[in-house]
């Protein structure tokens, strides 16, 4: 029916421009009235300037409605059509920008959240395919660079483990050592080499190592070989004052809602003993009894 309507409009416009055309019967009543009046008028006075605007607008609106139909089937038959009386009514076509609505939704989400809106609103950026490709390429080179960087860092850190420059990847014992180093760096709690064993064993091992070292040094001294200086003895860490948390007791241990004082703590509180005979003995006995 759209097509038909269009034909109507075309006929009307032709009728208005060429007023001599009389033979064609006017399809619509309205148009024929107007035509008759116009002809009468033009017979009396000079020809009228035809106002083209309403017709043009009619065409426009029709075209727009056509466009709307296009996304459907676009066929004439499907559209039920408007009756001829409706032709004169104003067709309102509203354009709603889908993109704008989406932006609106995003902005609403940002603005109406419970957080104070930040001054910088980041619009949702849609990347084009071209950009994506370029970025992928960038990513590949980035990954390569990262890999090389990591290898270099490792080499710098673990080079002391390597015996020759020919083999860059450590093997065997050295590989374990390197792994241990890396794990330590990443925050492992204990070294791989730290073994859980009875303290008597550990002390035994330590003592054995000491005697061996002693023997080596002694023999070297006797045979006149100059050795490296002995490593400085690590100060005994347990003798140092332990770092305590804030709010803990300055003396004793707080456990189970009670402050537990060790003998040493008590002694520290009491201070150096004075040698008044009776008291000292009394206290000593008391402590012994415990």
């Amino acid at each position: 029916m759209v097509g038909k309507r269009k034909r109507d409009a075309a006929v009307v416009s032709r009728a208005t421009t060429t007023s001599e055309d009389e033979s064609t019967p006017q399809p619509t009543a309205d148009a024929s009235y107007q035509d008759v009046f116009r002809k009468f008028f033009e017979a009396q006075f000079q020809p009228l300037e035809v106002a083209k605007l309403p017709i043009a607008r009619d065409d426009e609106s029709e075209e727009e409605s056509d466009d709307e139909d296009l996304e459907g089937s676009g066929s004439d038959a499907e559209w039920g059509g408007v009756s001829d009386e409706e032709v004169n009514e104003v067709e309102v076509v509203e354009h709603q920008d889908v993109k704008e609505q989406e932006m609106d939704k995003h902005a609403r989400k940002v603005f109406m959240s419970s957080k104070p809106p930040s001054s910088v609103e980041r619009p949702a950026v849609k990347r084009s395919k071209k950009d994506k490709d370029a970025e992928d390429k960038d990513n590949v080179t980035d990954a390569d660079n990262l890999k090389n960087d990591l290898a270099l860092q490792r080499l710098l850190k673990e080079s002391h483990l390597l015996e020759s420059a020919s083999e860059l990847a450590p093997t065997g014992k050295n590989r374990i050592k390197a792994l241990d180093l890396r794990m330590q760096e990443l925050g492992a709690k204990a070294s791989l080499y730290k073994q859980n064993m009875p303290s008597s064993h550990r002390r035994g091992i330590q003592a054995k190592a000491d005697t061996r070292e002693d023997k080596r040094r002694r023999e070297a001294r006797e045979s006149g070989i100059i050795l490296e200086k002995p490593a400085p003895k690590s100060s005994n860490t347990s003798a140092k004052r332990r770092e305590r948390g804030v709010g803990g007791p300055s003396i004793g241990k707080f456990a189970g809602g009670a402050l537990n004082l060790s003998k040493r703590d008590v002694a520290a509180i009491q201070g150096p003993r004075r040698s008044t005979k009776t008291r000292g003995r009394g206290r000593g006995r008391g402590r012994g009894g415990r």
Partner: protein
Amino acid sequence: MASTSQPPLRFTGHKNLVYRLVFSTLTGRTIQISQIRPSSPTNPGLAPHEISFLRLLDAITNGSQMEISYTGTILVYKPGLITGSASGTGASGGVIRHELPSGCSRGVSYFLIPLCLLAPFSKSPFKVVFSGPGVITSSTPNGDMSVDSVRTAILPLYNQFGIFNNIELRILRRSNPGPNGRGGGGEVQLVFGHQLRLPKTLHLMNPGRIKKVRGVAYAVGVSASNNARMIETARGVLNPLVPDTYVFSDVSSAPFVPAPEKTNPSGKKKIGLGFGLSLVAESSTGCLFSADVASPPAGGEAPEDIGKRCAYQLLETISKGGCVAPAGVATMLGLMTMGSEDVGRIQVGRDVIADESTIQLARDLTKFGAPGWGLRDASGENENGDVIISVVGRGIGNVGRKVA
């Protein structure tokens, strides 16, 4: 705090009571406020909202003492430490629930803005839920801004002092003022999780130009078309001036609060119907100006009028110039005063500083021992006659965070 030896500072009158209490808490000075509405024949002494604020202060601090005289016209406040909503003091489960009485005629922003000023100096994060039959989230006829404006125009100001993490203002239920402008039924939660030792020194001397306008139109228990009508007229005024204008619409049902009667003890009623508009303009340098208009409790005003009034109010606020709107002056200058011992500068409009409340704020701050403000005319092309205020920080900051 170390206020044992110092005599209390003496103030008179009920004006600026809230900020006096806030600065007393921040500086740790005891204050005595006398002559609180002494000549009012019907309601002498402290008003319900002021009492409620004192209760709130009591909940968020530890060890504060307040004495109110028999008639309520004299108040002695000895501040404690700002602890925030650490469990054990006034909080349950890390959240302080604060009930506002039904006679409260002030919007909840009356409590929120001073509370936010205290929050950065707290020992632990703030989580406060305002509930009860007196919570009005909209703007009120006595000049309180809406909760939306607090969120969009006041809270972003803290960003300039380096306070930005974990700040939220959730509007759980909206409410306009109830009958006669008293009571409501809203619910608002404030989360202020960024505590720091000292706020940054601020130098804000470029007002910039208005870049965008955002807003919220809210309708509580009335038709959403009111929102559309307000937005339409407001945009009609603002769009030719700022093309980037968006006003969002929020429609909610009216709060349904218990209203027991003799015959019907489990009766409930709807309260706080109405609508309103909150607009916020942001300049290119991040300065914020806000405007708020809501339907009067008596009704009888068309949404178009409210939209237009709000738009004009926004334009008026912007026309006052400077980097800070009158609504944000107390927050900005308060934070600058509490900052490190350094000179911060801020440009304000001449009308803003000539405001009664700003001058009162300056007087109160000097009384609390802050050095006076330095004023000079702004340089550059200064067609509005803006003034630059130089504020020296006191370097007190967060006493609760002093000990590492």
